[in-house]
């Protein structure tokens, strides 16, 4: 059973149709990337999943049924607009937010200590939130998302303000949670993170689902007839079946002519006695697909 099942939901604000017949699901132990340009309707979709807004039409099922107050304790949410009480200490702020997730004080204390150590915030637990750096506040916000061991995690731009070390730590945490059966929705503009983490993705533009499926399938769908090679010997200027040869970051991109497959190109290179170090089909990057879809150049 999916942890989240969204069926054909629509939502309008006045005359503006923010979400238009969107459907998707998220399985336990899966990371779904929710992608889209600014104003595409991602936050509205998340708010409908969280029962902050009601859809005008369509159905949403969370943990096998409609959202309830009890189910809110099973959800960890990191909104794009970060929010912590600035005037109180970090520990007091996180303790209060954790208590609203139904946790007992003793458990909160233990978990907070664990997370403070993990996020290297132990020395700051008694500092006011406003005295912490943006990155530290981001880590604190992540603690509120994860501390109650939720079954569903919804994170919106979780890597903003984090340095590479902490970014990797959060990625590892999300992967660990996924491996433990947690259903995760990852909202981000940083396509390389989505590419690295997600199992499936849904791309929203102007309220509509433009792409939905497994990452590999979508990349294949958008793949061009090109291969990337790294050679230890120089390539000739002209190769049969190759229409264009372009050097890109230490690799060479070979554009294939019509009906010339990557296998044909490989055979041709071997025939020319070229020493290959790497050979791969040039799959489009997610940000290329994103731009292509958003700018309406699909297919």
């Amino acid at each position: 059973m999916p942890a989240i099942e969204v069926k054909n939901i629509s939502k309008s604000f006045g005359s503006n149709r923010a979400v238009d017949r969107v459907s998707f699901d998220v399985q336990p132990g899966e990371i779904l990337a929710l992608l889209g340009p600014n104003g595409a309707g991602k936050t509205t979709i998340i708010r409908m999943v969280l029962d902050i807004f009601q859809p005008d039409s369509g159905q949403i099922s969370v943990l096998e049924g409609p959202m309830s107050e009890e189910k809110k304790n099973q959800i960890g949410y990191l909104p794009e607009e970060r929010g912590l009480y600035q005037e109180i200490t970090l520990e007091r702020c996180l303790t209060f937010l954790a208590s609203l997730k139904g946790m007992q004080p003793a458990v909160i204390k233990n978990r907070l200590n664990e997370y403070f150590q993990k996020f290297e915030l132990s020395a700051y637990h008694n500092k006011k939130v406003k005295e912490l750096s943006k990155g530290m506040q981001q880590k604190a916000q992540l603690i509120t998302t994860l501390i109650h061991d939720p079954k569903i995690i919804i994170v919106d731009e979780p890597f903003s303000s984090l340095d590479p070390v902490n970014t990797q730590m959060v990625k590892d945490l999300l992967i660990e949670k996924r491996n433990n059966g947690v259903a995760i929705i990852l909202c981000t503009h940083q396509m390389h993170h989505a590419e690295e983490l997600c199992d499936r993705l849904i791309l929203i533009n102007k309220g509509k689902a433009m792409l939905y499926g497994r990452l590999e399938d979508i990349r294949r769908q958008f793949a061009k007839p090109e291969v990337l090679v790294k050679t230890s010997s120089p390539l000739p200027e002209k190769i049969r079946g190759i229409t264009e040869i372009v050097a890109v970051n230490g690799y060479t991109r070979l554009k294939l002519s019509n009906r010339f497959t990557p296998q044909d190109a490989l055979k041709e290179l071997i025939k020319l006695n070229i020493t290959l170090e790497e050979y791969e089909i040039a799959m489009p990057k997610l940000d290329e697909i994103f731009i292509q879809v958003v700018q309406g150049k699909q297919g």
Binding site: L50, I52, Q54, K72, G83, Y85, S99
Partner: protein, 405 residues
């Protein structure tokens, strides 16, 4: 329900543990103390304790009775020195041995004329004590109780036609209570309302709201915050009242003031019946307003706007006091925004029919429930609106279903 208490506790402690709250708590009593202190100092500086003298040409003070020793900090007993002639009295006046010289004319008993001579302006108590001294001596041959009554005057008590209530003109507390109840109401509403507005807007500004409503229902959140901030306002008022009573007791002990005032608990219960739903109503309205706006600065301006109609009855105070049963006064005591101030004053000045009191409280309770309902709707719609205030059409026609029932 558990989360409601968590929200209430957090919101209350967050409010009362701020420097702003403590400053507000202490600044007003300190300010009042300062004003009182300055007043006392100014009053005391106008008094002098140097002796006064008199020359009696009318000879009615041949065997004078001295004023009883009832001096206090504000009215120190002055030594009153008799002189046989003006020359010796003037000599003492010149060397400041006496602060003023009173010359009683030969025809004093017919005219009451007394001349005062002084180098500087004498203390304000000099004339008063000399007149008291003259009065005492004019009455010295009268029976003691007659003299006492003439000196202490009469006391008029106003009694209602049905005999249910009576008010002495000397009973200051019974006059203060209805006026101060209204003022206290306005004060608590000002504090609680501004705390509430600030808290709601701050949570929108710092984006905590979105985290909160994914953990707790909007209704629990709103109710918890409203009551917490109301309690914060009451805490402030309670602390002030406590300090005021402490100061009053201290003043009674220091200045030996006598008081026979007692609180009328029936009147206080009625005040509570009026004020509690009024508090809830205004707090709910403030919450609703907080949810529709986006900046703390805007909140402060709006909280001031809320207070205006509540203090309106004070503008019509003369009319309310002189004609407490006029149509406009009755309407003001039933209209929920003005009734918390008007009704207690009317109850003091007239016999308000029971139906009007019941109607007034009923309207207040209904308004409180209505305000809570409306606030819940607006809160759900406006709580996540960042950077853009809700329009009236959105509030009343547009997006109530956004909040998700």
């Amino acid at each position: 329900m558990h989360k409601f208490w968590l929200v209430l506790r957090h919101a209350y402690l967050r409010q009362v543990q701020t420097k702003r709250f403590l400053f507000g708590l202490l600044s007003m009593p300190l300010f009042v103390l300062l004003i009182i202190g300055m007043g006392i100092l100014a009053a005391r500086l106008r008094l002098k304790s140097d002796p006064i003298g008199y020359v009696d040409h009318s000879s009615f003070l041949t065997d004078p009775v001295s004023l009883p020793d009832q001096g206090s900090f504000f009215n120190p007993n002055l030594l009153i020195i008799p002189y046989s002639d003006e020359t010796s009295a003037n000599a003492d006046l010149q060397v400041n041995k006496i602060q003023a010289l009173y010359v009683i004319g030969m025809d004093y008993l017919q005219t009451g004329a007394v001349e005062r001579l002084a180098l500087d302006r004498p203390g304000e108590n000099a004339d008063a004590q000399f007149i008291e001294f003259l009065r005492l001596n004019l009455l010295k041959n009268q029976p003691e109780e007659i003299a006492h009554r003439v000196l202490n005057g009469s006391s008029i008590t106003t009694r209602s036609m049905d005999g249910s209530r009576s008010v002495s003109e000397e009973s200051i507390l019974s006059l203060i209570l209805p006026f101060s109840a209204g003022l206290m109401f306005i004060l608590v509403i000002s504090f609680s309302g501004s705390y509430l507005l600030q808290a709601v807007v701050e949570e929108k500004e710092n984006r905590t709201m979105e985290i909160l409503i994914t953990s707790v229902s909007p209704d629990q959140l709103m109710a918890g915050k409203t009551i917490a901030n109301l309690l914060a306002g009451l805490t402030q008022l309670g602390a002030w009242l406590g300090l005021g009573l402490l100061a009053l007791t201290a003043m009674q002990l220091i200045f030996h003031l006598e008081s026979e005032e007692t609180f009328n608990f029936g009147q206080i219960s009625l005040l509570l019946l009026i004020l509690i739903p009024a508090f809830v109503m205004v707090a709910a309205m403030m919450t609703a307003v907080g949810a529709t706006i986006t900046e703390a600065r805007e909140a402060q301006q709006i909280s001031g706007f809320f207070i205006l109609p509540m203090i309106a009855p004070y503008w019509f105070m003369n009319s309310i006091m002189s004609n407490p049963n006029s149509t406009i006064t009755i309407l003001l005591s039933i209209f929920p925004i003005t009734s918390p101030v008007t009704l207690p004053i009317r109850i003091f000045f007239t016999i308000v029919p029971a139906w009007q009191i019941i109607l007034s409280i009923g309207v207040l309770v209904a308004s409180a429930i209505g305000a809570l309902w409306l606030a819940g709707k607006i809160f759900r719609t406006g709580m996540l609106r960042y950077g853009k205030s809700l329009s009236l059409s959105e509030i009343f026609f547009g997006n109530f279903k956004e909040g998700g029932d």
